[in-house]
């Protein structure tokens, strides 16, 4: 668990449109890496290329490589389904399966992998819900629909669902942007705890959030709309927010644009 990721010369396309250009970025295990940058600069696109969710969009493809502990996830003999089991994802809008109970949501990924024994599922579900700080709130209503929870609880349910299959890496795309401040705080605390076991990459619009939760921050930018997004710089979060080496980063984090 908790593997490192190395993106090398990664170009990401939607059809013929180059959305993100030549990204080289290393992501350390057991740490939180925040991706920040103005809207449309390709943060989501880059994040989704890390677990091959990008190619779900028709015509979308990449060139370059993404290595998970040295193994290229885009190699010919690698099945994207396996990649996604190893690199979990939490989305901007909480998306528990509305047709499933809370319990079934948590174990959905496990069932895909053929885990069937009831006691095993119970045990893992409880562990995942505890890890997502949700157990106490839902333990008496595990059979209720996932959609009966509040937005913040739904998002923690989605986190529980993602970590129930014990991925090596957890990708989060603005996981708090649809949530209220209290729920946001709960998720931030959770991220703090999860980084002991997982490699976490989080896209956030909120610079205070990046400063609060992340160890390293990567700043993406785009020169002009229609041009590809680029990685401007990546460094320790404290450095990015106090003394970045590139002017554009300083302008962005100090709120002069974006």
């Amino acid at each position: 668990m908790a593997k490192r990721i190395d993106a090398r010369d990664l170009n990401i396309y939607y059809g013929s449109f180059l959305a993100v250009e030549s990204v080289c970025l290393s992501i350390e295990p057991r740490s939180v890496t925040a991706l920040i940058g103005p809207s449309g600069c390709g943060k989501s696109t880059f994040l989704r290329s890390l677990n091959r969710m990008h190619e779900v969009v028709p015509g979308a493809h990449v060139d370059g490589s993404v290595e998970l502990d040295g193994q290229d996830i885009y190699a010919d003999n690698v099945d994207p389904v396996t990649v996604r089991r190893t690199i979990g994802m939490v989305f901007q809008r909480p998306n528990p399966f509305p047709t499933m109970s809370i319990f079934d949501n948590v174990v959905a990924g496990l069932k895909l992998q053929g885990h069937r024994s009831k006691s095993e599922l119970n045990e893992i579900a409880e562990g995942a819900l505890r890890a997502a700080n949700l157990w106490n709130e839902v333990k008496d209503r595990l059979d209720k629909p996932g959609s009966s929870l509040s937005g913040g609880q739904q998002q923690r349910l989605c986190i529980a669902r993602a970590i129930a299959i014990r991925p090596d890496v957890l990708l989060m795309d603005e996981p708090c942007s649809a949530l209220d401040p209290i729920s946001t705080m709960a998720i931030e605390e959770l991220i703090e705890e999860l980084k002991r076991d997982y490699t976490i990459v989080i896209v956030t619009h909120n610079m205070q959030q990046a400063a609060r939760v992340s160890d390293r921050t990567a700043f993406f930018n785009l020169v002009a709309t229609g041009k590809p997004g680029q990685l401007v710089e990546v460094d320790r979060t404290a450095k990015i927010f106090s003394n970045p080496s590139v002017r554009a980063t300083e302008d962005y984090v100090s709120g002069r644009f974006g």
């Binding site: 396996t82 998306n95 959905a108 990924g109 895909l112 629909p145 959609s147």
Partner: protein
């Protein structure tokens, strides 16, 4: 439900300040409400009218019948004494319709899944049009096509089933091996007829599955098919049931196609590969021109039974859908 409350009059609202009062109900609202209320009442009146009509003719028919209306198989309402019953009609109607549903539902769902989530955009659009076109073909055309093309070409399948699966009572053929004008023939033609409705309705609901649910499944490492099973099919559950009920409704009431294909008889037989059988609708169509007074009433009484069966089917469907409403994805 939430929409309904929005249309309600502002009875529950607190009194408004005088200067804001004006006219609390706008003319447009009033017209709209009158129109919608009026048409619902109109609809109810029509349904009630049909029920009253059917009932008023059913009673004399049942009084004239000298045997048990529900268990008698034969149909001689105009002889003296009058002898008729719906047992064979009910059996044939349910058998052919369920057979049609059994064949059409999996295929229809498969076609809908393919169009909504597998086929490339171009092909999906083309197939969608084709399905809509198929839904518009009049049933008499299906009947003729079934009788003159499909049935002769189905003899091979029928004899294959009879030879290899004859040990299952359904596929046994102890009395006849012509393999034409059979319940199986009727069921297949009905299946082709109801396929477009089923796949059109299913396609619509499958297209409405939020992208978020699909991506959630894929991000957990679901394959294409697992994504369908996890996110798409459960979300489309109530739509699939509705489509099945629409299809079943059409099959239950289908007249011409069945009348053209079956060699009607008033027996109750499990052997769907042998000629014979009858349905409510086909019986009404075929008997109407010969029927005298009691005969007409008897046919109307059989229509009443079909009406009740259709009603029960719809209620069953609603009940199934409502039972798991909380998990439907509609909230």
């Amino acid at each position: 439900m939430t929409q309904m409350t929005e249309f309600r009059s502002p009875q529950g609202e607190p009194p408004v300040e005088p200067q804001l009062a004006g006219s609390p109900v706008r003319a447009g609202d009033r017209i709209f409400r009158t129109l919608t209320a009026g048409s619902s009442v109109f609809l109810l009146v029509i349904i009630a009218g049909i029920a009253v009509f059917l009932f008023s003719r059913t009673v004399p028919a049942l009084q004239a019948d000298s045997v048990n209306f529900f268990t008698e198989r034969t149909w001689f309402p105009d002889s003296a004494p009058s002898v008729f019953g719906i047992a064979a009609l009910a059996w044939g109607t349910l058998l052919s319709s369920l057979l049609a549903l059994l064949l059409a539902l999996p295929v229809g769902i498969g076609v809908a899944l393919f169009i909504a989530h597998y086929a490339p955009r171009r092909l999906a659009t083309g197939l969608g049009y084709l399905i809509d076109l198929l839904a518009a073909v009049p049933s008499v055309v299906f009947g003729l096509w079934g009788r003159d093309f499909l049935v002769p070409n189905m003899v091979g399948i029928s004899s294959f089933l009879a030879e290899n699966f004859g040990w299952i009572p359904f596929f046994a053929t102890p009395n006849s091996e012509t393999y034409t004008q059979t319940m199986f023939n009727a069921g297949v033609v009905l299946a082709v007829m109801i396929l477009p409705i089923i796949s059109a309705v299913c396609r619509e609901v499958f297209l409405q599955v939020p992208q978020g649910h699909i991506e959630a499944a894929m991000a957990l490492g679901a394959t294409r098919w697992e994504t369908m099973r996890m996110a798409v099919l459960p979300f489309g559950r109530s739509g699939m049931i509705s489509s099945a009920m629409l299809g079943l409704g059409r099959a239950l009431g289908e007249t011409v196609a069945v009348a053209l294909i079956l060699s009607t008889s008033y027996g109750i037989s499990l052997h769907i590969l042998e000629p014979g059988g009858n349905t409510f609708a086909a019986n009404i169509a075929l008997q109407y021109s010969f029927a005298q007074d009691t005969g007409i009433d008897a046919l109307i009484a059989s229509g009443m039974v079909l009406f009740v069966i259709t009603l029960l089917v719809n209620m069953a469907a609603r009940w199934i859908i409502a039972r798991r409403a909380a998990f439907s994805g509609a909230n």
